[in-house]
Symmetry: C4
Subunit: 188 residues, 4 copies
């Protein structure tokens, strides 16, 4: 009788709260991208030409903003797609989710670096590297979920296989892209 029920102190994390945390981190990462865009200092406050020139000078930062917003939007959508098939979250799955979120929260730094030094091969390597870490953690999360039996039974075995393949394909593409950028950076 003194023996506690096995599951009262077991690992439990609410799916909806992890979802909030995740949506919150994506919303913030997407919004703080803008903090990298700085208001330029102008000699003549009224000069349209000077402001246009100052902004054009930082054109790559604006391009990086748009690209990075899109990348985070796609990451967010992929997380949604993946997450809705999970029935519960195990400790290993939470750890991999946190790794994913750490990569997503780190992304604004990569975006800022890439926006500032678009022609530096290392900043491109870091940018793709961050996406690669995200994708690897996400794929590992799916494989671990499959092993832990936490994939919804509504997903047929065939669909589960297709999902796994899709994950692995994306992982391969992103990793290749990263390795290519890394090789270019190391070679230069």
């Amino acid at each position: 009788v003194e023996e506690p029920a096995p599951d009262a102190l077991a690992f439990v994390v609410s799916k909806s709260r992890l979802e909030f945390l995740c949506d919150g981190i994506f919303a913030i990462a997407m919004t703080i991208l803008v903090l990298e865009l700085k208001v330029p200092e102008l000699a003549d406050r009224h000069s349209v030409a000077e402001l246009a020139q100052a902004l054009a000078h930082h054109g790559s930062t604006f391009f990086s903003y748009l690209l990075s917003f899109l990348v985070l939007g796609v990451m967010w959508y992929r997380q949604n797609e993946h997450y809705r098939h999970l029935r519960h979250i195990t400790r290993a799955m939470l750890a991999l989710h946190l790794a994913q979120l750490a990569a997503a929260a780190f992304f604004p730094f990569c975006a800022a670096l890439f926006g500032r030094y678009p022609t530096n091969n290392l900043s491109m390597a870091l940018y793709t590297g961050c996406v690669a870490v995200y994708t690897l953690a996400s794929t590992a999360g799916w494989l671990v979920a499959e092993r832990a039996g936490s994939i919804s039974t509504q997903l047929s075995p065939v669909d589960r296989k297709r999902y796994r393949k899709r994950h692995l394909r994306r992982c391969a593409v992103v990793t290749c892209l990263f390795l290519f950028c890394l090789a270019r950076a190391l070679g230069s």
Copy 2:
């Protein structure tokens, strides 16, 4: 049998999660507007007159804060109004939603630029341009939703038409305002 069910891997995005992402991005954009307001450096820490003068010097930044908070508040309300009539989100609708959110998240930069250079015609053109992009993406989202049959059937055909007109009218107003500001910027 080996053929997967057609919808298991189909595009699905939860309405409530997109709502969270959206509310999160608006909440953050509205709050980081304040980061543009800087504590001034004072020679005499106790001087009320010096602090008042320093703050008055940045009066346009405070005005821009209030105006931009209001603009984002109205955008948020419009998104609400629009969103509650949607039944589901298609891929094109998600893409347009992300475009809307990218404009909303970009808005704090426009607000900062306008607060700093209120008399520069280009900053006014960028400010109204950002609102125009938001409004165009929102209107396009409504038209696409109508085509995709994702508008709630609770909305009568007459109301649907009125909504569409309202969207198009707003779009026209905002686009004209932007073109006027752009023309002024190009002409100066």
Copy 3:
């Protein structure tokens, strides 16, 4: 038949979404208070004494952080208390809510100013002024909700009266405090 139903295009804002926006803005305002705390520059990276001195020099900023976190926490709680008795949100109520949120989102600037210049009477006046604007908007929101008949019928007339009195009392206290600080600032 061609006449649209009167309420299909009427003003509607979801209570739960306004709640999300509100909780989001409070969470962000509470967290970006920390951005005002800056890592000091040290001549000797290893010196405990130098770091302690540098941090002690900014003691008022730390005090302002704690005080402002508490003030925002109390504001958040008050908003909760008030909000759960509302049945629906009218246009005027939304406008007053946005005014409340604009004051809450502006608060980190007041906290930064007060932390930097605690002995400047104007920064104290702005700090209390921001709280006063928040409280006035909140009280006005309650009175407008009463007029619009949007207070829950579960609240008895007597309780409603007590709530109103509570609101008015707080308003009076905060306004007096602000006027006192303002008078001190103007007199110095």
Copy 4:
């Protein structure tokens, strides 16, 4: 009859809204950690070696980012674990929750300080001190909840005891770590 019902104006805070506030603050604290990472200034924009060196120079900031993200992730999980057993929130519990959240929101500053001065004993003491404040507030929250009878009755008395022990054990570990770091800082 004129006497108001005792509970109409009583202290009530919605469990789900405190949850949102909490998830929001954690999401933001985790994401603004990245703002401490600064894009370095390069003499040669194309030089991979210079960028690599500049980033390596700030290696401890990257390490602090990862460690602090993990610490906040664990704090978030612990809050989840604790929170789901609560039935309602009393005034004292809300106050302790706000203390917890103030520590979590303060954490990015500690992370920035530790990342910048990893070898300074005081920054280590502040870092562990912030974790200790969080843990103490969390443990006090649990003990207060037990006294207030707000722990779910689904938790058996034995499990409740084990939870309390777990809380106290963590508290002891974290406090010892903090005292050790503090002693080192004071001794140096």
